[in-house]
Structure formats: C-alpha cells, structure tokens
Symmetry: C2
DNA sequence: GAACGGTATTATGAATTCAAAATCAAGACA
DNA sequence: TGTCTTGATTTTGAATTCATAATACCGTTC
C-alpha cells in the first residue's frame, strides 16, 4: 500500500536542503541565499524559512540574526564529539538489541554480513560501506527504542558530510571486518555487554579513518576563511 | 557583561510555549490553537508556526497535516526509552568527565554535594532535586562535549513533565544519596568506568520512582481518550 | 431520536507584503 | 592610495493576505 502522506511542504524542503548539504552543493560555512533556493524549489520563503529553523535545531545550519542561515562548519572537535556520542548510542543499541532481537532478525543481519564480506573480498569500497551501514541500522532497529534511533539518525546526518580518506588501508579494513565477525558472534550469543563494547570501539575506529586532515581545527567566527575549491 | 542578544522571535516564542507545556498549562494531547497563543504572546502566526515546527523536531509537539499541532503525549514506553538513552549519555559523561575535570571543578561539585546532603537531612525535597540536577549538569559540562550536552538537554526537556510519585520513600532517597557519595568518590579517583556505571544505574532508580502509573500505556491516535483529572 | 448531508464558519498552509537591518557601491576626504 | 561617509539596493524578519482543508452547525430524512 502506497503511503499517500500529505507531508508539510517545509519537510520536503528540509529534505532537499539536507541533500544539497550532504552532497556538498551547499558548502560548509556558505551563506544560504533564501531567494536562490526558493526559486530553485519553486516555493515561497515561508516553508524554506521554516525548514531552515528546523535544520538549525538539528545542527545542520546556523542562523545568525538578521544575517541569514549558513551551513554549519564541521570542526575536528565537533566530529569527535559527535562520534563519541554515537558510539555511546551504538553501545546502548547493542545491549538492547540482544534483549529484543528475534532469530529471524539475526539471520537477516547474518545475510547482510555475508554480502558485506563478499564486497570486502572484492575490495568494493562503496558497496561495502552501504551494507555496513545497513547492518548498523538493523541493530539500532532491533533495539526497539524510537528515541535512540531518532538521536542516532540526527547525529548520523550531521557527520554524513565527512568523507573518508584514502587511509582506509587494508589493515584498518581487516580490523573492521573482524569487529563485524565478533558482532555477529555476540548477537547470536545475545551477549549484550560484549556487543555493546564492540560497537563502541568499532565506531572509534571509523573516526581514525575519517579524513579530518583538511578540516579546520577550531571554530572561526570570521566571514569566509576558505573559499574552497569551486572549479 | 549583559548578553544583549537579538534572538529571533521564534526562539522567544518557542521558549514560552515550552514553559506552558512544562507547567502543564498546555496539557498532553491538547490541540494547540495558533490563534489563541498568538493573541496571548502578541505576535503573528509566522513566528509561532516556526516555533512549533522546531518544537516538533524536538519531540515536544506533533504536527498533524492540516490539523495543527498538539502537545506530545508521554507514554510509558516513550519515557522508558528516553531514560535509557539519557542513562547512556550520562554514562558517557561520567567517563569523559573523569578524563577532563579539574580539581577546582571537583571541589565545586563537592560543595554542591554537601549542600544537597543538607537538604536531604532536612527532608527538603524541592531544593534537593534542584541541587541534584545541578550536580548532574556539572558533570555533563565537565565532559566538555557540546553534542552530548545538547542531546541530553533535549531529552531532559522531553521528560520534564514527568512528575515523581509518592514512592520517593526514605529508602529510595537514601539509596540515591548513597549513589551520589559513590559518584564523588569515583570523580576524585577519576575512575571513569566506575562513575559511568554509577550514573547509568542511578538513572534507572529514578525511573522507578517516576509516577508512570497514571500514564497511558500505549499510543492512541484518537482524539482525546482521557480527559484527565482537571478538577 | 439518531444518522446522514449540505452549508457556514473557522483554522491551517503557504504566498505575498511591508518594515527594518545589513550589504553594496560610489564619492568625499585625508 | 586607502579609509570613511552616505545613499541605493538587497536581504532578512515578521505581519498580512488568500486559498484550501477541516470542523461545526443545522436541517432533513428514516
């Protein structure tokens, strides 16, 4: 059955702006022109402004009084803080998942795991990441905690812009896969504490791989320090 | 120095609506009349509607397409889920705080602790809760993680409406104070794992004292199932 | 008396309008 | 040449307006 959901316009607009930010069309620190986006989306300023305010509460944009909205600039510290919290949430999801998960759900995750292993063997980075992400989402879903899921999705959205560097060496990759093997094992044993611990440390690994090199170290209140490469 | 901050109107409005919800002036499940609130605040519908949309993303209200906003109704499950996540966040704050906290900050918390003990001895419930809350806030602040603090504040706001039952017996209270004694000890030893564990379980106790009895068990999509006791 | 239908009223969603602040662009001046 | 005014233009913030969906009211029918 199709979900004929009359979502409010501001939600649609917010989704599209999120996409633009995620794809880097709207660069970090860039001032968001309401006029331009309205024309692009074919809507008036009202729903766009509502969307921007919601996104400000989500941490994706910042609103400067009388000076409009700009895309939040990621800093090393912000990303680190976000990953720390995400790790704690993933840890909780592991504990809860082991309490609630069904055999069928474990089997489904097992299948995803096998698919992921295949991508690993073929060294297909993008498909690997995609399936990897799905596994984590399944575990979060199995935790059966809406609030947890909501918080995790929010944080996940914020750091989606972080691109992973070429430092994804065989060594890191191998270790990540080993973590996943251990996760499956903990899941099958329904060992919540174990799964929690693995998930916490697993995500920490991801941070090490993230390319924070190019990212600015600390907050800058100034205008447009780096005009970035736009060609 | 006074912070002469020209905050946007929608933020002011949101704060005031949050107060109304927290104080129960706007009851759970109650439909929010834009007109009435606008007149009350002396603003147009634009900033109010922006505020409501932000609050929807904060989980305080729900927006039904073409049917306006209503105050989110707390359910037993929602509260439990929220507490679980808060516990995880508090646990993380304990670990991080032990890494970062200074002797001065510990001393300040120690002083708050002593004040709290005095309120405990005098059986002054409200002052006790207030200082108690301050201690937790100090630990969160000491963790030096903006994202953590933001998430925690958000969740905290959602369950502020939960009232504590008369089950706050001497026994529970004594146990809570003992937890706090242990916290101080862990802080001084800078034993992050220990402090984390205490904080997690501490919150579980709080959940037991929460008066969830009167609260509806599951979500109801209908109009106004329980008109609640208003006399 | 209860259920159904149709109209009037009200409330919401989104576009438009208007006032005020910020930005931009010249031109004056050191 | 570079900095500071001053006025024009643009952009933002918030009120207002307009179209549409939901609700309330009321008469009809069974």
């Amino acid at each position: 059955m199709e979900k004929i959901q009359h979502r409010n316009l501001y939600r649609e607009v917010a989704d599209r702006v999120r996409e633009l930010i995620e794809q880097g069309v709207l660069a970090p620190g860039e001032r968001i022109s309401e006029k331009k986006l309205c024309e692009q989306f074919g809507v008036s300023r009202t729903p766009l402004r509502e969307a921007l305010k919601v996104m400000a509460s989500e941490g994706l944009v910042e609103i400067l009084p009388n000076r409009g909205a700009r895309v939040t600039r990621l800093t090393v510290k912000k990303v680190r803080n976000t990953y720390d919290v995400m790790a704690a949430l993933e840890g909780l999801s592991g504990e809860l998942a082991c309490q609630n998960i069904t055999d069928e759900e474990i089997a489904a995750i097992q299948r995803l795991h096998d698919t992921m292993l295949e991508h690993y063997r073929q060294r297909e980075l993008q498909p690997y990441f995609r399936v990897n992400q799905q596994i984590h989402e399944r575990i979060i879903a199995a935790a059966d905690n809406d609030v947890l899921e909501e918080m995790y999705n929010n944080l996940s959205q914020r750091v989606k812009r972080v691109r992973y560097s070429k430092k994804m060496t065989d060594d890191f990759w191998k270790r990540a896969v080993e973590d996943h093997e251990a996760m499956i094992e903990a899941l099958q044993k329904r060992d919540g504490l174990m799964l929690g611990r693995i998930l916490r440390e697993h995500l920490c690994n991801k941070l090490e791989v993230a390319s924070l090199d190019g990212m600015i170290e600390e907050e800058g209140d100034d205008e447009l320090p780096s005009r970035a490469a736009s060609s």
